[in-house]
């Protein structure tokens, strides 16, 4: 008897469970996540707590209201012989269903206010980091430390367009993550360079719009080292889905080492800026920079998007004097989507990309633009 029940019931159940777990584990550990993450900061915990409280309150009210409604739909149906009564309006009932929800809301406003006060508690930070949103990447600047870098998507176009299988960290990987020390209160000063972006790290409970011309602050402090992934959450153009936020929280000692390495690398870079590059070296470097930073608008083949973004292939700028080309890339064109790349790209990268644009896709100017030319142009201003 028991065996029969087992065969009838338990075996299919086991199969279903196996299927469910197979489906839910095929991506990552976060695959079957249905609820808001609790996160690793005081703010994210507060958001989670108030979220859960509200959800349970709504669930209880929902069960009561819908339960009553379904009872009515069952009990007072004409097919069961229900005859309509003709009552309407009842002052006490109507007062009750106005006052009781109002009281619930007033009570709820108290924890909601406390949680919000935490979000705004940006005083007394140990570290200040300026976060700037660009189309379509983030720039992180460690204020007072002389460390500044761009963080952009590392997932190749081939994975996005299905020419290669998607990697484990598809759209969740960047060239260089933001690095933070554990146990320190970090204040983010957030702004935008071109359009509005929004910097979101769910595990920190930080989401703040990066508005051009406006600085706002948010903060995070966590004891837990690890990698935390977030997103841009304000529509910012065609690359909106392709500018993730990746944050690595390290132990203090590791963080200090990382910071020292960054500074050393910056110093080393400054000393090599005078190096003369060959035509081919610049083409290789330029193609990489172009595909990462320019192809979003001007397209990989240099043909742009007709009516929106101009072509570089056979363009007046790319085939004209190099000074004009430098001016466009370094200073940008005010009032258009062509932004200034002076802060976004190094001198080497700007030289390489200009060189590439002048000598790729059938453009054949044949000249060589060296990093030192870029430096001279910047200093001449």
């Amino acid at each position: 008897m028991l065996k029969k029940a087992q065969a009838l019931f338990l075996r299919p159940l086991g199969a279903i469970l196996a299927l469910v777990s197979a489906v839910s584990s095929h991506a990552e550990s976060a695959a079957s996540q249905l609820n808001m993450p609790q996160g690793v900061t005081e703010v994210s915990q507060a958001a989670y707590d108030i979220h859960m409280v509200m959800m349970w309150i709504c669930t209880v009210i929902g069960v009561a209201v819908f339960g009553f409604m379904f009872y009515v739909m069952y009990a007072h149906r004409k097919s069961r012989g229900a005859v309509a009564e003709n009552f309407h309006e009842n002052l006490i009932v109507e007062l009750l269903w106005t006052i009781v929800p109002a009281i619930i809301l007033i009570v709820m406003a108290i924890p909601a206010t406390t949680a919000l006060l935490k979000v705004y508690d940006t005083e007394n930070a140990d570290i200040d980091i300026k976060v700037t949103g660009y189309q379509w990447k983030w720039q992180y600047e460690y204020l007072g430390e002389d460390v500044k870098f761009m963080s952009e998507l590392r997932t190749p176009q081939d994975e996005i367009y299905g020419r290669e299988p998607k990697g484990e960290h598809y759209l969740r990987e960047v060239t260089e993550p933001l690095v933070l020390p554990a146990g320190k209160k970090v204040r983010f000063l957030i702004t935008g360079n071109d359009v509005i972006h929004s910097w979101w790290v769910p595990d920190f409970g930080v989401k703040r719009d990066a508005v051009p011309g406006l600085f706002t602050s948010a903060w995070a402090k966590t004891e837990k080292p690890g990698t935390y992934v977030g997103e841009c959450t304000e529509l910012c153009g065609s690359g909106h889905a392709f500018m993730p936020v990746v944050v690595e929280v390290k132990e203090q000692a590791e963080y200090d080492q990382w910071l020292a390495d960054k500074k050393a690398a910056a110093a080393e870079y400054a000393s090599t800026i005078g190096k003369q590059w060959t035509f081919d070296e610049l083409m290789v470097q330029g193609e990489e920079v172009y595909n990462r930073s320019c192809a979003g608008c001007h397209a990989v083949n240099g043909e742009g998007i007709p009516g929106v973004f101009p072509a570089l292939k056979n363009s007046v700028i790319a085939l004209g004097p190099v000074v004009e080309h430098l001016r466009v890339v370094v200073d940008g064109i005010p009032g258009t989507a062509m932004q200034s790349f002076a802060d976004q790209l190094s001198e080497v990268d700007i030289a390489a990309v200009i060189h590439y644009e002048r000598n790729a896709w059938g453009n054949d100017v044949g000249d060589i633009t060296q990093p030192v030319d870029v430096l001279n142009y910047k200093q001449a201003k």
């Binding site: 976060a30 709504c58 009210i61 309006e89 719009d209 929106v308």
Partner: protein
């Protein structure tokens, strides 16, 4: 009686002239309804493109640039082309018949306000075929993405929005004038059907906020073409100003969409409960308070923009309060059903689904009002799920209910009940399969307006897309049902089509003659 309407038998010139030059509220109502359905199918097909692309991670069918145009056009067409004109169409058909008036107060303006709409949408949709493509900055068109960084076609978009706004303003002035001046003797304000009340209040909202929208797009126009800097920080302007102006229009706008839906449901539930609305006057007051509050909560759409904490707290408290009058409405619908004699024809099924799903959307709305939690929800699929529960299950379900409910009165034919119920269940199940998983996606961290997403969101996106195709198919069935009713429906001839229906529109013959209430009825 005056001459009847031209039919196809009179030749196509006369027939076309009838529709082009009509000043008859029923003809104009019909035009609005067919136009809005066409826009609904168009906006729906944009949604199908979106869901097809999101079926799997990676870019398969379209480019991100075109994806953004699709999300933008889906929102614009659905809000301004489908839902709003649908309710104006219902208002045109029903308000004169409900208050015992022979027609709308301003019939020529009525014709104008309809006939400029197709041009507005022709202009808007034509941008998809122009160099640079259609608007790609979201239906909320935040500056500077919609100004400095927009394609040149944004100027067509601005012109289109201006025309839509003019149409809406004229339509609402007409409704206000009609309700205030053309009520039959004895039809006092507190005797008006709820649908008339909700539309009267909606019309005031429209007159108040459509000019604000016009102001916002005009400032955009100036920024783009005439060198001003309203929204450009580099020139001393402020991108956040745009959001304040937009949401001062945008928040009342969502109540403009939902209030007439409340009105429809408040007509249908009493009919099929065979019992009067439980708290008529409290429903009127609740509607008016929701309308008033809609003006003072706009910045809850901007909790992550970095407002001062005092602002955040105020907008949070004010927003939470909206739950009170909204709750009053829901409780009223349920107590109307209580101890009634319920039957579940298609309009009633859609209305009950409205109450359940709208309330569900209300719950998530209450959760969204809590600023600290909203920082996690904001601009994720949780918000997408929330507003589709209140817009689709709210406005679209009630619009569908309204068509099934009044269709016999309009064309004198009864729809096929079985087909209606089949459509309801496909729509109801499809809707929930589409949007319920989007709550999970949002909480797990998927932002909205994403053309592509990480692998952790793959499962629920696939489920959501399957539901969307199902919901889309239900709309084709809806079209089939309506056309089939008009051509092959079983004739109805008693004035009171439904057993428990109350109201003046059920006292005129079925189908409603071209001119009704040429002599005003006496209302006791």
């Amino acid at each position: 009686m005056a001459h009847g309407p031209a039919t196809l038998a009179d030749g196509w010139v006369k027939y076309a002239s009838r529709w082009l030059f009509t000043t008859n509220h029923k003809d104009i109502g019909t035009l609005y309804l067919w136009f809005s359905f066409a826009m609904f199918i168009l906006g729906g097909s944009f949604a199908m493109v979106i869901r097809a692309e999101l079926f799997q991670p990676g870019m398969q069918l379209i480019k991100p640039e075109f994806f953004n145009q699709m999300t933008t056009m889906h929102g614009l067409v659905m809000v301004f082309g489908a839902i709003m004109p649908a309710f104006v169409g219902l208002a045109n058909w029903l308000i004169p018949m409900m208050i015992g008036a022979p027609d709308m107060a301003l019939p020529r303006m009525n014709n104008l306000s309809f006939w400029i709409l197709p041009f507005a949408f022709a202009i808007l949709v034509a941008t998809l075929f122009m160099e640079g493509g259609g608007p790609n900055f979201g239906w909320t068109f935040y500056a500077p993405l919609s100004t400095t960084y927009a394609p040149d076609t944004v100027n067509y978009f601005i012109f289109g929005v201006h025309i839509m706004g003019a149409s809406s303003i004229m339509g609402s002035i007409n409704i206000i004038a009609t309700v205030m001046n053309m009520r039959a003797p004895g039809m006092t304000y507190m005797k008006m059907p709820m649908f008339v009340w909700t539309w009267l209040i909606t019309a005031f909202l429209l007159v108040a906020v459509m000019p604000v929208l016009a102001g916002a797009v005009t400032m955009m126009l100036m920024d783009i073409n005439f060198g001003t800097s309203f929204f450009d920080a580099a020139g001393g302007g402020d991108p956040v100003l745009f959001q304040h102006v937009f949401w001062f229009f945008g928040h009342p706008e969502v109540y403009i969409i939902i209030l007439p839906a409340f009105g429809v449901v408040s007509q249908i539930i009493p009919t099929f409960s065979r019992k009067p609305l439980f708290g008529y006057s409290s429903m009127v007051y609740a509607t008016a308070s929701i309308a008033f509050m809609s003006f003072i909560v706009w910045a809850h759409h901007m909790f992550t923009v970095g407002m001062p904490i005092a602002g955040e707290l105020y907008f949070m408290y004010a927003t939470m309060l909206i739950a009170v009058p909204t709750g009053v409405k829901v409780f009223n619908w349920i107590t109307t059903m209580y101890k009634g004699s319920l039957t579940f024809e298609t309009p009633m099924l859609f209305s009950i689904a409205f109450v359940i799903l709208f309330t569900f959307g209300g719950f998530t709305g209450l959760m969204l009002s809590i600023a600290a939690a909203d920082i996690q929800y904001h601009d994720t699929y949780f918000v997408v799920a929330h507003f589709h529960y209140v817009m689709v299950a709210g406005a679209v379900f009630s619009g569908t209910a309204a068509v099934y409910y009044w269709l016999p009165k309009w064309c004198g034919k009864m729809y096929d009940e079985t087909m209606g119920k089949v459509q309801f269940w496909i729509a109801f199940i499809g809707f929930n399969i589409t949007f319920m998983p989007q709550h999970f996606l949002g909480l797990a961290g998927m932002p909205r307006r994403y053309a592509d997403y990480g692998l952790q969101f793959a499962d629920w996106n696939m489920v959501s897309s399957i539901g969307a195709f199902m919901y889309g198919a239900a709309q084709i069935l809806f079209l089939f049902n309506v056309v089939r009713t008009i051509t092959h429906g079983k004739p109805v001839d008693k004035p009171e089509v439904w057993e428990g229906a109350e109201g003046l529109e059920w006292t005129v013959p079925t189908p409603a003659p071209y001119h009704t209430f040429e002599k005003p009825p006496q209302v006791k």
